[in-house]
Subunit: 362 residues, 2 copies
């Protein structure tokens, strides 16, 4: 492990902004090397597309958690090893988002067109159906490339082979958990009758484990953590990650589009089978149920229809119930964090993150 | 490295059928473990879908080459390490095929419906457009899962960490080469005016490097090969792999569907920008060019139109030219194979493979 003594973030309290900046610098450097290899070929374009996608927007939540896991386990702040590993998780997440947006048929992400829509617009052959297909097909490939390169960045992070071997099972678990969560999500979206247990299972896979627990585990393992620390991160990460997802579900419907980066109608039109919707359906009167059934999953839903849905979600106290679930999970996660012995700067950063990502505004 | 003394293929000449069987047994074992984990959950279905897809059909060309690379470099025949690594390449290839079939909009592969069409047919909600989307979306995910699990199988093959570290750059190169080949393919398909240099570049990436050179490199490196052997495999593998692709292009149009496993119209309807087509266009008279332009890439192409195209491909001597290119590449590859010092059983198997996969019948 090499320590970069003159790194801007060495030896100080974990600053999320500085970690984000260092992670972005690492990604930029990785893409510069890729651009040199692709230069002058027909592949220069696709490399630039992926770079711009990864470097524009995003909260860098997974890299930040990975970094905190490393610092918590005693890894030296600012070390290039952890910055590359953390950056690789963002590249993996780009893969997940690109494919997710294709599957959801989403037009916007982070306040910009989704990648398949961007690629479609770039094509402009004059044949809209052919352009649409090119957009989707090339976005599948760019997503695949993001996954392949994330793997390359992680395995080339500079950690010794035996440390990388210890990381492998965590990486395998993280990826499989995401796939399973995505598959459950896909199988239930649009069915109009979500089940609370399934909705919570998806939140646990995609957010609890994939977004929070595994990045912490990977960062900590790179720094040589003992199993007890990983267990503590599970006790913190899974409930806090579920709370992130529950908050996200609420913000998707009640949030300010200017802050969430997506239309307040998109989640409703998709008919995402959230815990919020499952709870509302369970306690809805027949007239309220009719509103939900008619509007949620309706691709033509307008602002007026969305307002009716919001009223039903409030009146059935589903919003209230989800707020309670968020509160309970955040509390449980923070209590687990208080019990574990880790470096104070990591504890403070994790506490701040847990609170910020479950707060009522995006 | 553990040697399985009682393996059916230990200590004998490389038998492709026995290697295929051992690779399939390894895949079956891997999927059995996955099925136990998924048992009783909504994920059991997706695990079974991928298992059936991987275990039905396919020539196991990449595993076989990986295995030959290992034996050539002195690895013990039948070793579980190489069988798992070889099997991982088949799982990676399943990922490539699943996504490729989505991108090509193909209905058939290996004489059966493609995965997205199978999943679409299973859904049967009564809403064809919704079923179609579910088929494509879930096939994207099953493809992703195949990639993730191929990585898991390779890294869990049992080779020591430092050996796996030596394999990593080859794996990274193999995956990126495939992605780049796919992207060039996607960008040029259906444009109606393929360029010979681009067509050959795609054949080099997707077939020369991805299919032949890299599997040999990975197998040899797992057995501790020196760089000189890898160079020899490049000199053998790249031309031979290009010859495979050129043969495949001919068989896609002139082959017997009962043997190729796909319609003799599919490649023509897709308008694949092959070297064959590029050469024909280059030397076509205006009337011949009109036939090619009207029929190739025409989704409504029928058997009559295909016959006209075949006549033009013969008359322009494009078929003849491609046969010459196959011959030249195969000869160059075999000459390189003759020059390298490797175990005799590996040389014989590689020679047989090169000849069989470039022969005039599928």
């Amino acid at each position: 492990m090499t320590t970069t003594e003159n790194s801007p973030i060495a030896g100080r309290r974990v600053s999320p902004d500085e970690v984000r900046k260092s992670v972005d610098d690492t990604l930029r450097e990785f893409f510069e090397a890729k651009a040199v290899l692709a230069s002058g070929t027909s592949l220069a374009g696709v490399t630039a597309v992926l770079r711009d996608y990864v470097l524009t927007g995003g909260k860098r939540l997974r890299p930040l958690l990975c970094y905190c896991g490393w610092v918590a386990a005693g890894g030296p702040p600012g070390d290039p090893v952890i910055l590359r590993a953390a950056a690789s998780l963002e590249l993996f997440h780009a893969f997940a988002l690109i494919h997710d947006d294709i599957m959801d048929g989403s037009d916007e992400r982070r306040g910009r067109p989704t990648l398949h829509r961007l690629l479609e617009a770039d094509r402009a052959t004059g044949d809209p159906e052919r352009d649409r297909r090119f957009g989707v097909d090339s976005a599948i490939l760019v997503g695949d490339l993001a996954m392949v390169w994330s793997d390359e960045l992680l395995h080339g992070c500079g950690a010794p082979p035996r440390v990388l071997s210890a990381v492998r099972p965590l990486l395998d678990a993280m990826r499989t958990e995401l796939m399973f969560g995505q598959y459950e999500d896909l199988s239930t979206t649009g069915t109009g009758n979500p089940d609370l247990a399934t909705a919570l299972s998806i939140a646990s896979y995609k957010s609890g484990k994939y977004t929070v627990e595994r990045p912490l585990h990977i960062g900590a393992t790179l720094a040589g953590a003992e199993p007890a620390l990983l267990d503590a991160f599970t006790a913190f990460g899974v409930p806090v990650g579920e709370a992130f997802q529950l908050r996200d579900d609420l913000l998707g419907i009640f949030g300010d589009p200017a802050r969430t980066g997506k239309s307040a109608l998109a989640d409703l039109r998709d008919g995402k089978g959230t815990a919020l919707l499952a709870i509302a359906l369970r306690s809805a009167r027949p007239d309220q149920r009719r509103v939900l059934t008619a509007q949620v999953g309706n691709p033509q839903l307008n602002e007026d229809g969305a307002r009716h849905v919001r009223v039903v979600l409030e009146e059935t106290r589903a919003v209230h119930a989800v707020e309670d679930m968020i509160e309970e999970r955040r509390g449980r996660g923070l209590a687990a964090l208080d019990r574990v012995e880790i470096r104070a700067e990591a504890r403070a950063a994790l506490r701040d993150l847990a609170i910020a990502a479950t707060a009522r505004t995006a």
